[in-house]
């Protein structure tokens, strides 16, 4: 009786870390109505304890992929392993996987407490133990004082926390999150992004996060898989996906782009619409990407290697930075210059565009 109450949170945290599970998908296919291809032979490996994001525009198949992981959708073909066990045909209610749904899908007829306890109750855990764990989880997720409320009395952010608690309390091998923050306003969203990330790191659980917001993906993820039209375009860390996109789609989806056609001149230089660039690391032909913030706009008249005369067509002042539309050679280029108090260019000004060859990325297509 005097024995100290076991520090179950930390105990469980340890257990979760030990049991964090990897996920492996091999050749997963899914079509709807026989013709709409949602997923086209997806191969994917998600590491244990990783914050992994499925990123793509709506209709790219990311939600379908998540639902296949949850068991709410069955693939037409391919295999699915979690923690080394094949669960391809396992029904949703037999998988140690839980989901935070986009609309939260909280049960309106149950209180917050009963919502959070739902999964435990379904697995036959007695009420007293459920209550104890709900209190603990509610404390952990900072909704301790809300447990006796009804769902419709909660704000959006509180509902989001309840949905998270309802999933986490089951200590699943993998937690799936389907755009869980998209219904919240910007301020709360940023706050919860940080909290969600901290929660994941503390528990060491494998999180699979779905979003269409590339900024959110870059903030949160250990690794990102970019999807388009049912295919995986690239799987990489956030900086790699942004700075070294593999193709035009990934480049465009991750941020502002300047894309040029180029061809090597045989002497280690590249001919482009801007002019001839020298000093490139891998002078291949085809399409190259230059991110607007890596370009530099300098006063007119500067000459030298990789400097080209340009004319400002339009300026959009955005406070922390300014965005310029610039005509240079045969191309129209976007330049983003951070505002360090230096003189701004105006529309119609002549200027010099400086290109750093280290920041050129050649794309596959």
């Amino acid at each position: 009786m005097d024995a100290p109450a076991p520090d179950t949170t930390s105990e469980r945290r340890g257990r979760a870390a030990r049991e964090a599970s990897s996920i492996e998908l091999r050749g997963v296919r899914k079509t709807f109505g026989g013709s709409v291809v949602a997923l086209d032979h997806v191969d994917l490996e998600i590491r244990a304890g990783e914050f992994f994001t499925l990123l793509g525009p709506s209709g790219c198949g990311k939600t379908t992929l998540l639902r296949i992981l949850a068991g709410l959708e069955q693939p037409d073909g391919g295999e699915l392993e979690i923690g080394g066990r094949d669960i391809t045909g396992t029904a949703a209610h037999r998988r140690s996987v839980n989901t935070v749904f986009q609309s939260y899908a909280l049960f309106p007829h149950l209180s917050v407490r009963d919502n959070i306890a739902f999964g435990l109750r379904m697995r036959g855990i007695d009420r007293a133990e459920c209550n104890r764990r709900v209190d603990e989880m509610a404390e952990f997720i900072k909704i301790g004082q809300l447990t006796e409320r009804r769902i419709e009395q909660l704000s959006g952010g509180q509902q989001q926390r309840v949905a998270l608690a309802r999933a986490l309390i089951n200590e699943p091998d993998v937690l799936l999150l389907d755009e869980p923050l998209s219904a919240l306003d910007a301020g709360l969203r940023g706050e919860l992004q940080v909290e969600l990330l901290q929660t994941q790191k503390r528990l060491g659980m494998t999180f699979v996060f779905v979003t269409h917001d590339q900024k959110e993906a870059m903030v949160m993820s250990d690794r990102i898989a970019v999807l388009n039209e049912g295919r995986i375009q690239q799987v990489d860390s956030p900086d790699a996906v942004y700075e070294r996109p593999r193709n035009r789609f990934v480049a465009r989806f991750m941020g502002h782009t300047n894309l040029f056609a180029c061809e090597p001149d045989g002497e280690g230089r590249l001919r482009t619409g801007l002019g001839t660039l020298s000093g490139c690391r891998e002078p291949g032909g085809g399409c190259i990407l230059v991110r607007p913030e890596t370009l530099d706009l300098q006063p007119a008249g500067r000459e030298g290697e990789n400097r080209f005369p340009a004319r400002v067509v339009e300026r959009l002042y955005r406070g922390a930075f300014a965005e310029y539309q610039v005509e240079c050679g045969d191309e129209r280029v976007t330049v983003i210059a951070s505002n360090r108090g230096q003189a701004l260019f105006r529309s119609g000004d002549e200027a010099t565009l400086a290109v750093d060859p280290d920041n050129l990325v050649s794309l596959e297509d």
């Binding site: 069955q74 073909g77 295999e79 094949d86 391809t88 045909g89 029904a91």
Partner: protein, 306 residues
């Protein structure tokens, strides 16, 4: 190998799903098929049988009942049945028209009220129709009996001879029909008004000015689906009405429903009654077709239920 495993799983899943499907919709569907669809089919087949002793149907199959229905009896041709059929049509037509005229302002008025009062107002309109049809009709018998204020007023204007009641008459039957079916028109019309874009009406008020044109060009097109649904819900059961003409109408106001019932009670000619019922079934199916089409239109072509 794993493809085969997945297939095995999917077969098991299909099986579980099929039993679940049968377990949920099975009992209700089987019940309706067994105790309503089968009896209806049997009734249709009776229409093609021979009338035996005591009015019970017998083999062989024949079209005799339809000839009788058209008026060809043992004593030559008589137009009685055709009159009944025609009367059913025109009494239904007049009653439906009156119901539409009364229901439009009511439905519109309810839709303009504050939303927390609308449900109660609809309930007030609907509740009388939940009481038993016989009682409601009996109420009208009381109201229109001789020596009551209504009958006396009618007598003063010379509409009926003094000392007589307003029933039995076709007038009483039509009043009964209108009373009985008014809620079935108000509800779908109200639903249409609730969805109506009132800006269009306001714009039309500015542009057309006369109320008739506003109604024709702005209100009617928007409430047409509700009007159609209401017309089906009113006219089909009205066409087959039995209780109201039986109590409020005399022999001269008889409708098809009474003709049918008579063949199963006093006259004892099941095949003839079944033949008359078949005409009603055909009208019913026609009504279902219309209702389903409206449902498709409203549901954007995908919803199963109206």
């Amino acid at each position: 190998m794993s493809e085969r495993v997945a297939q095995g799983f999917s077969i098991r899943r299909e099986w579980g799903r099929t039993t679940h499907l049968l377990g949920t919709i099975g009992p209700g569907v089987i019940w309706i098929v067994l105790f309503l669809v089968l009896p209806s089919l049997y009734l249709i087949s009776v229409a093609f049988m021979t009338n035996g002793p005591y009015g019970l149907p017998q083999m062989p199959l024949t079209l005799q009942s339809f000839r009788e229905l058209a008026g060809f009896g043992f004593l030559g041709w008589s137009p009685g049945n055709l009159y009944t059929l025609l009367r059913s049509f025109w009494q239904t037509l007049i009653a439906t028209g009156l119901v539409i005229l009364i229901a439009y302002p009511l439905a519109y008025y309810i839709s303009t009220q504050p939303s927390n009062r609308r449900a109660l107002m609809l309930l007030i309109v609907v509740v009388p129709s939940w009481t038993n049809q016989v009682i409601r009709t009996f109420g009208w018998m009381n109201l229109m009996a001789p020596d009551t204020p209504l009958s006396d007023t009618a007598a003063v204007f010379g509409l009926i001879p003094p000392q007589l009641g307003l029933f039995p008459s076709s007038f009483a039957v039509i009043v009964g029909l209108v009373y009985n079916f008014l809620p079935f028109m108000v509800l779908p019309l109200y639903a249409a008004f609730e969805k109506m874009d009132h800006d269009i009406v306001a714009a039309a008020n500015d542009l057309y000015a006369t109320p008739v044109r506003v109604f024709r060009h702005a209100v009617l097109p928007q409430t047409l689906p509700g009007l159609m649904a209401g017309t089906v819900l009113v006219s089909i059961p009205a066409f087959g009405m039995y209780v109201i003409p039986e109590l409020l109408g005399g022999g001269k106001s008889m409708m098809l429903g009474n003709l049918v019932a008579r063949q199963f009670a006093e006259a004892s000619n099941w095949p003839l009654g079944a033949a008359a019922a078949l005409i009603m079934i055909l009208a019913t199916l026609g009504g279902l077709l219309i209702l389903r089409r409206i449902g498709r239109k409203l549901g954007g072509g995908k919803e199963v239920v109206l």
